[in-house]
Subunit: 436 residues, 2 copies
């Protein structure tokens, strides 16, 4: 059986990988991009070049939008001579860009207004980075009508790992909300990776050794593991994941949080530090370059301290990440719960995706299941204990004149939790400070 | 009656003013500094040069220490051939540097240990800037034994404004604690002045016009009024008040807060942004240079927008300062209360000193007096209303890609207050989120 033609717009780092993967799977993919060079590159990789939105959309029963933002999506979808104008009846339109759920829902309304309610629209953001895009092993979070989900399922499955296509209940918007709460963790952990390694450098620790210890410990985050090689190589112009990209996602989170009047102190802190970096010209660089906001020289130039100090110093870095990852998990779970996101699916998804951390996998699950007990059970830490360790970390960073934006913000959240009477309770009780 | 000789160490921006003012009042002041040029400058201004600590201390019944930090104080007081070794019996020793109360108390203990319990030690930090130091109109917060306070009173009064010598109950440490909680406001308002003016520039507002409107409104802070001229002139090498100075004070606050496990989200945010500036080489600059962390060019280069927009934009800047100043007042009052600082004196002091703001003078007093009511009284704003305005501000800054560190931190504190059920209450109820 021959595979259906697919229209595709947005051949950037992610989109190029997704589109060429579909080509490899035997789909005729008609790809368009605003940069002619990207179209030629796609052609060279076996894709069918489309030299206009019209050409990419005409006669295509399946269409994938992978542009960088909702303003771009709005333009390619609804501009004169845009995609919607040229899609055939009952075409399946998959929006894979990261947008707010509000924007995704507005697309449905605008399709109706334009008399194109026939189009089967799927809100299907992705996660996993350029490599997984190219391998067809992305995580995809799809929300839509049952009819649209059924129609889009096979193609979404081609682009995602066998176990990582999430059909999120709740219709259009639910996919984007799922992606958004995932990005709460991503936005914090990306900065967290830089904060940990910058602090380690200020402590005089050897970066590769420290990174290995983080990866082997309960301080592990997917982002740290993924970003560290580029961070230490200063491979900051690869186009893999620019500061502007995570900044955009953080903006979707904090804008939605403001509409919901929901506190996101850690994610907001991260966003502000990304914004500061943007102001000083770091926007187009890989987000692992954020390490320069903590340590002014290359990580490889950190002087390596003697082994005796190194052990205690290593523990400080691990404690930093543990503390930050714990509060990050609380912030993400509390926000997800507030938005009525399917928490069990959220946990499964994050645990296997870019927002994952050891702490989220374990303590995040306890938070989701409401196992936050009145007293810290034997063998588990209390809020007081986590705060005490993070206090030592923050003081040490202060003594070294090392900024520690997330560490400080997390510690203040823990202090607030203590002030509201939950200090002796298990560390997962920090979620209580985010309200009901 | 001839005036007594005074020993003096620390002829920096503040110390030079204080010492020469005492000279003008007829005191023989023997001044020492580690920089020989400062001694010569003091000599040229009519002071008596001392070329060693010994020379400055021998035979002096009154001694004033105005070095920059507690490590420096420790060195000049207790080093071999240091001050304490050479002071006569029952000398009055005034430590005017800003230090932690813990450090001030440690001096008393060390005097005892060294058999110099006879020395009348006064913990007497000052506030007001170099100009007031030179005019003898500083605010001084003195804590000591009654005997020491009585002995030091006349000289402290010479250096302070008639109404601004505060004899703080509680002995040694109480002066430093009073100064510290004052500095909570100073540390936030210094960054707040830059944040407001940087945001105004991003909005295309004319800086002098905006500054005037702030000064004429309930968004006024002493720091904004004081810093704005240097900010707009980019007069950043005057030595008036370097980033490192407020960073040191912020460090005293957050270190003490950590020991007390007390949350200081706004002050910590400010400290982290000062630390970031330090990392990038801004430490020695005047703290008004922090505006560059919000707007990358001189304020004078901001393009002036048409008058229609300007009115709404101006209101956004005022709302930013109102929101931040409100949470700053809550943070300072809550922390002062926690430390059992005399709140009535605290209010009087701040209202006339560098930490002052219109919001603190009014809403701060309501917080101190416990007038935080169950419902916002007619004519006053609720937490919900302040949060709603700040939300608009923060969103606008985000749209402009303008960092807004304090605005975001303050908004998250307000959201936490709402999540804990105080949204409909008067805005001063934000203090509740800081706990009992």
């Amino acid at each position: 059986m021959s595979k259906p033609s697919i229209g595709f717009v947005g051949l950037g780092a992610m989109g190029f990988g997704m589109a060429t993967h579909l080509v490899k799977q035997g789909y005729p993919v008609h790809g368009f991009d605003v940069f002619p060079a990207s179209i030629e590159r796609f052609k060279a990789a076996g894709g069918i070049p489309a030299y206009s939105l019209r050409e990419s959309a005409e006669g295509k029963n399946y269409y994938i939008v992978m542009v960088a933002s909702s303003p771009q999506a709005q333009a390619v979808l609804f501009a004169e001579d845009g995609i919607v104008q040229h899609l055939p009846q009952n075409a399946v339109l998959m929006l894979c860009s990261t947008v707010s759920s509000m924007y995704a829902q507005s697309v449905v309304a605008e399709l109706q207004n334009r008399g194109r309610g026939d189009i089967l629209f799927v809100d299907s953001p992705v996660s996993g980075g350029a490599l997984r895009a190219a391998n067809g092993t992305l995580s995809i979070m799809a929300g839509a009508s049952d009819e649209a989900l059924n129609a889009a399922r096979d193609i979404l499955q081609e682009m995602s790992d066998e176990s990582k296509l999430y059909l999120v209940p709740g219709g259009v918007g639910a996919g984007s909300n799922m992606k958004m709460v995932h990005q709460v963790l991503a936005a914090i952990h990306i900065l967290g990776a830089s904060e940990a390694m910058g602090f380690a450098a200020q402590l005089g620790l050897d970066a590769p050794v420290m990174a290995q210890k983080i990866q082997a410990s309960d301080a592990w985050t997917w982002m740290h593991e993924n970003r560290f090689p580029r961070m230490v190589e200063e491979d900051w112009n690869s186009g893999a994941s620019a500061v502007t990209i995570i900044l955009k996602d953080a903006g979707i989170i904090t804008t939605t949080a403001r509409q919901q009047r929901f506190p996101t102190p850690l994610c907001s802190t991260a966003e502000q530090i990304y914004l500061s970096a943007l102001l000083h010209g770091w926007g187009p660089k890989d987000d692992s370059a954020m390490v320069r906001q903590y340590y002014a020289r290359p990580l490889s130039e950190a002087s390596v301290s003697p082994a005796a100090d190194a052990e205690a110093a290593t523990e400080l870095v691990l404690d930093l990440m543990r503390g930050v990852n714990l509060v990050a998990a609380a912030e993400a779970v509390a926000f997800a719960r507030h938005l009525k996101v399917d928490l069990s699916m959220f946990h499964t998804l994050v645990s296997q995706a870019a927002g994952g951390s050891k702490i989220f996998i374990e303590q995040g699950l306890e938070m989701i299941e409401g196992r936050i007990g009145d007293k810290a059970p034997a063998g588990s830490e209390s809020v007081d204990q986590v705060a005490a360790k993070l206090e030592t970390v923050v003081q040490k960073a202060r003594d070294l004149h090392c900024p520690l934006h997330l560490g400080n913000a997390a510690l203040n959240v823990l202090f607030m939790t203590q002030r509201h009477g939950s200090g002796a309770q298990s560390s997962t009780s920090v979620i209580r400070v985010y309200g009901q």
